[in-house]
């Protein structure tokens, strides 16, 4: 393909070979070469980016996957984007399949809404558009001052279920906690399967602690004005884990967007096994699989964990053969092609329900 005529270039801002795998797959599908650049860490741990070709007047796509070292990956992206901006690139579009800090998108006590901070930083560095996949909260799109395309991995995961899970018609889609119910329901609808929701003590993690301050307060503070008697808020009761829906004699498929700390998933799998599920699958878009995850999965009742290649996880796969990968480079490449040609992206969203 004649690179000069195509008018767009694709760069990868990652510095390790494992992280650039996805970028290579995408450029292969597009039939272009990855742009020449050098990204590395100096001995004093500063990130250095050198763009080795002219980008003047061109549309540039920067593909950035987020490996273990999140902050360095963010810095690499910012430095490359700014380098391209000051080199007169026309448009700079970030392709960030897994958007980091998306779980820190709500106000928590005296915390910071890091996602908003990150959005401001990306805008300042020169990005004009972002393509991402399965944002943890769709409202994050509102943090950005430029367009955000939130692609979905569900068609790929649905296809995997239909092709690779034997006897999938006897399966039931399970939401590990009430917050995942909407996504689980959209899968269940498209596969024409039943739905089950789990609820209870182990589920009370960060998602419920959105704002540590309750108004009115749960606990009476002694430092209040005497005479100001506010009614107390009732503290939440933590019921034992229950499964709403029947999983007896079925294959249980737990669906979520991110699989990171697997303790919740392992506990859920135990319960489902007790309630009669004979096989347990976990489908998640972003397989972060931090810390001890591979070992815990290997020792648990889970049969298979299926994730996409938005987050590099080769190391975890070596430690745990239950982890399977679905390649999503096709949809990312297609999105890049359509954006460059100014075509509609509606086709990529044709099978997506409103809750996905």
């Amino acid at each position: 393909m004649n690179v000069a005529k195509s008018g767009y270039r694709v760069f990868s801002a990652n510095s390790t070979a494992a992280s650039t795998e996805l970028a290579k797959k995408i450029t292969e599908r597009l039939g272009v070469d990855l742009g020449k650049s050098v990204v590395y860490q100096e001995s004093n741990r500063e990130t250095r980016v050198d763009v080795k070709e002219s980008v003047r007047g061109q549309t540039i796509f920067i593909i950035q996957t987020v490996p273990r070292d999140v902050n360095t990956a963010i810095m690499e992206l910012l430095v490359m984007a700014y380098a391209l901006k000051t080199s007169c690139a026309k448009n700079i579009i970030g392709v960030i399949p897994y958007f980091p800090y998306s779980k820190q998108c709500k106000m928590r006590k005296r915390g910071s809404i890091v996602c908003k901070l990150l959005a401001s930083m990306l805008a300042k560095a020169g990005l004009t558009h972002i393509i991402t996949m399965d944002l943890h909260q769709k409202e994050i799109q509102g943090f950005f001052s430029f367009p955000v395309d939130n692609l979905r991995a569900s068609p790929f995961l649905l296809q995997y279920i239909q092709e690779e899970v034997p006897d999938y018609r006897n399966a039931i889609i399970v939401a590990k906690s009430p917050s995942a119910a909407k996504r689980a329901q959209s899968y269940a609808e498209r596969l024409r399967l039943g739905l089950a929701v789990m609820h209870g003590e182990a589920q009370c993690s960060e998602s419920d602690m959105a704002d540590g301050r309750h108004s009115p307060p749960c606990v009476r503070n002694t430092s209040g004005h005497p005479g100001l008697e506010l009614p107390l808020m009732m503290a939440k009761e933590k019921p034992p884990i229950t499964v709403v829906g029947d999983v007896g004699g079925r294959i249980a498929i737990i669906v979520d967007d991110i699989i990171d700390d697997v303790e919740d998933f392992v506990a859920a799998a135990e319960i489902l096994k007790e309630r009669g599920a004979y096989k347990i699958y976990i489908m998640a878009t972003h397989g972060l699989l931090s810390a001890d995850a591979p070992r815990l999965i290997e020792e648990s009742a889970i049969d298979e964990v299926v994730v996409t290649n938005t987050v590099p996880h080769e190391v975890q796969k070596l430690q745990c053969p239950k982890i399977k990968t679905v390649d999503v480079s096709m949809i990312l490449a297609e999105a890049i092609r359509r954006i460059h040609n100014g075509e509609s992206m509606a086709y990529l969203f044709r099978n997506i329900t409103v809750d996905d």
Binding site: S43, N44, V70, N71, R110, G111, L117
Partner: protein, 285 residues
């Protein structure tokens, strides 16, 4: 002092503690941690509403992590209605890739100088200081070095790289006289220490009796410590803008100048609305 809070990031907690001790304050409570997916999480542990907040974070160690932590802490303080947030960044990262001059920032910048502390150290620790030569290891540091030399009323010298032919390696040439004198190399930062070790060799072969190196920021990455141990320095002196305990265990030549009082005084003056320029030429006690 009312309405002031000082927080320390995780890059250099020792310096943060020293600064707050000098100001007679307690360090503000903040929890900085990393989730298992390596994302940084910051939670401010006390009210900062309406306060003048100072966050001490140095650009050292894992720079990108520390930078992110600083940004998140600043953001958290702003969202929690702090009246003003000032970042105290003793060693400013990425300074060699950009310039840290005032014109590049949209916000006020106070660039303090370690020079007064350096002058004090020289007078107190080098007996022969009245007869020494201050040397710059490259042409770029000439201004810095002449300023110190003038205040001590001693001579200066500099080393510059000369390339005789296109493919030849740079040759280092000493401009000035160090014969039978104590030579004091002065520079702003030492990273891999290739330059200053070459310079030290040069000075010894030109007749210097002793060679000291005084550097504001001691980054000391890669082969730096080995190089210093093998080189002929009497002492390598750095400030504590970057934590040095670990490095000092591996290298007995490293000594540290404490600059926490300069930073503390700058914070005090900024908080009280006084002039900071006094600090450009004086070391607070």
């Amino acid at each position: 002092m009312p309405n002031i809070k000082i927080f320390s990031g995780s890059s250099h907690p020792d310096l943060g503690q020293k600064i707050s001790d000098r100001l007679g304050l307690e360090l503000g409570k903040v929890v900085t941690k990393k989730f298992s997916n390596q994302e940084t999480c910051v939670e401010i542990g006390e009210s900062v509403r309406g306060e003048d907040v100072y966050i001490v974070q140095s650009g050292c160690g894992e720079i990108n992590d520390n930078l992110m932590e600083l940004l998140i802490m600043i953001n958290a303080c702003k969202i929690a209605s702090a009246s003003r947030v000032t970042a105290v960044i003793p060693c400013f990262p990425y300074a060699r890739q950009d310039k840290k001059d005032k014109g590049f920032f949209d916000i006020p910048v106070d660039n303090l100088y370690a020079e007064p502390a350096v002058l004090k150290w020289i007078k107190e620790n080098i007996n022969e200081w009245k007869n020494c030569t201050i040397v710059s290891p490259d042409a770029g540091g000439a201004k810095r070095v002449t300023s110190i030399a003038d205040r001590l009323n001693v001579d200066f010298a500099l080393i510059h790289k000369e390339r005789k032919k296109a493919n030849e390696v740079d040759r280092m040439v000493l401009v000035g006289d160090v014969k039978d004198r104590v030579a004091i190399l002065v520079d702003d930062m030492a990273d891999t220490c290739g330059t200053i070790c070459h310079a030290a060799d040069k000075l010894v072969s030109a007749g210097a009796t002793k060679v000291y190196a005084i550097l504001t920021h001691g980054i000391f990455s890669g082969p730096a410590i080995t190089r210093i141990n093998n080189a002929c320095f009497e002492a390598v002196v750095v400030t504590n803008t970057i934590p040095q305990e670990d490095k000092m265990k591996h290298c007995s030549k490293i000594q540290v100048i404490d600059i926490s009082m300069i930073l503390a005084e700058a914070i005090r003056r900024t908080h009280n609305g006084e002039s900071v320029s006094y600090l450009f030429s004086h070391v607070p006690l």
